[in-house]
Subunit: 280 residues, 2 copies
């Protein structure tokens, strides 16, 4: 068999992952999901497309227009258009009403849209995420990748406990895996345009990344009540809107880092099993 | 907690699946993947976007232009465009070079593109699939859904054994689950435009669907060497191009049918476990 993962193409479309890489990604995701379940999360399952009007609620097209990809059907009025040079013309399309998400946690806020939570809530979800980048690197910077998240909704204290818990866990997991992880404060452009929130974020960082050799492979994020407000989520017995936070893992980036560190995907798979068992 | 799956929207974007539905979908998919592995398949992991030029190879834009969705970045030349009424204008977009797949198995042929297989090969893969439909029904007809497939590549006999094996398995599984499944011959528009292939398909059906109350929830498909030829896949020691076949499961449709049959997702989950154990 001579097949194997090809490099990312000029369009940024990722290669199909082979069996060893797939087994590693599945194992890693099972470990992360196991942590989430042990912390009390249940899993929900978001779609990889949303109405543009839903993503608009999160200021996606204001704060991340360069990353955005939208989906459109073909306009068949004059017969099926044919692509030329690997692309369609804009005139070949109907107007796009669907947006491809660039992060997984949107699904959690939309799931609870308009809801009153009975108590502090934890969910986990994985999605295909999409980003229009100016360059692409196999596994490390892709048009589409998988992001596993654990999302806390409810009281501010609850959202902060999740982040403290997973900061410790990610640090210990990195050490057990022999990966040097740097914890770096990062800017979160969700809050770029909000005066009070931008001030708050300068006073107290809202995002920390865990970087391996400069590559962010996980992050912990405080949103205060940004998403709670946008999706009208409330916590029973509390005034105002629910607070939220999330922990995010870029699965293909973990693959890249783990495979580099352990020499091959099967050896990295063994390392993940051993590290997870040691931490259990 | 008052949240729950909302109906499919006018754009056809699916609802986020709640915890009980997610557990059921995961369990069902684990059963199907277990069958695939027991039959000798390894899992590979395809992306939910491909270069338009890859999907062109499979005549997607000739045979299924009405179903096609393509993805485009925004054109920021004059500043970020703003959506109006939940949609962007065509002039807001760059020319799309990415296509969203409407079936999972494309990933298998692209993974083995240009390869010579050492022997008969079986892989399993799941993907998000996308279809622009003229109407939408929650779980049953969605813009985006999940399709698990098992794909055989190699000799013609190998491709037919997969289909015979899984025809028996699906039939037994349906019976164990108390779902009345009808096996119906169906047309496969992949072969619509090929003279010799179209004739062949009239003589001997290339697709059978398993329908529950008229809803196709699984299918078995013979492609002869259509995909082998398009992706230049060969089998060691054999002349010509490899043959392929696939078995496909629409996971959200199984959810709809199982939940209807058993009254709730948790009861359907128990039924799936029991049926899988009975068949093991």
């Amino acid at each position: 068999m001579t097949a194997g993962p090809a490099p990312a193409t000029a369009t940024g479309a990722p290669a199909v992952l082979g069996p060893d890489e797939t087994d590693l990604l599945r194992e890693l995701d099972a470990v992360l999901t196991g942590w989430a379940r042990a912390a009390g999360a249940r899993e929900i399952l978001p779609p990889p497309v949303y109405p543009v009007s839903d993503l608009e609620k999160f200021d996606v097209y204001t704060n991340f227009p360069h990353l955005a990809l939208v989906a459109a059907p073909l306009d068949l009025t004059d017969g099926p258009p044919r692509p030329a040079g690997g692309r369609f013309a804009r005139a070949d399309l109907q107007e796009p009403r669907l947006g491809l998400p660039h992060a997984t946690c949107f699904g959690a806020y939309l799931y609870y849209e308009g809801a009153e939570l009975a108590g502090d809530t934890l969910v986990t979800l994985v999605n295909r995420c999409f980003r229009n980048e100016d360059h692409y690197v196999p596994l490390r910077r892709l048009t589409s990748f998988q992001m596993r998240e654990i999302v806390a909704l409810g009281s501010f204290d609850h959202t902060q406990r999740l982040l403290a818990d997973f900061t410790a866990r990610i640090t210990a997991f990195g050490a057990a895996l022999g990966i040097g992880l740097e914890r770096e404060a990062a800017a979160d452009p969700f809050f770029e345009n909000g005066g009070a929130r931008a001030l708050m974020s300068r006073l107290s960082p809202v995002k920390y990344e865990f970087q391996a050799g400069g590559l962010a492979i996980a992050s912990v994020n405080t949103h205060r009540n940004f998403f709670g407000e946008r999706c009208r989520i409330r916590l029973a017995g509390e005034p105002g809107h629910a607070f939220t936070s999330c922990v995010a893992f870029g699965l293909e980036r973990w693959l890249a880092v783990l495979t580099d560190a352990h020499g091959s995907a099967p050896r990295a798979l063994e390392a993940v099993r051993e590290a997870a068992a040691a931490l259990a």
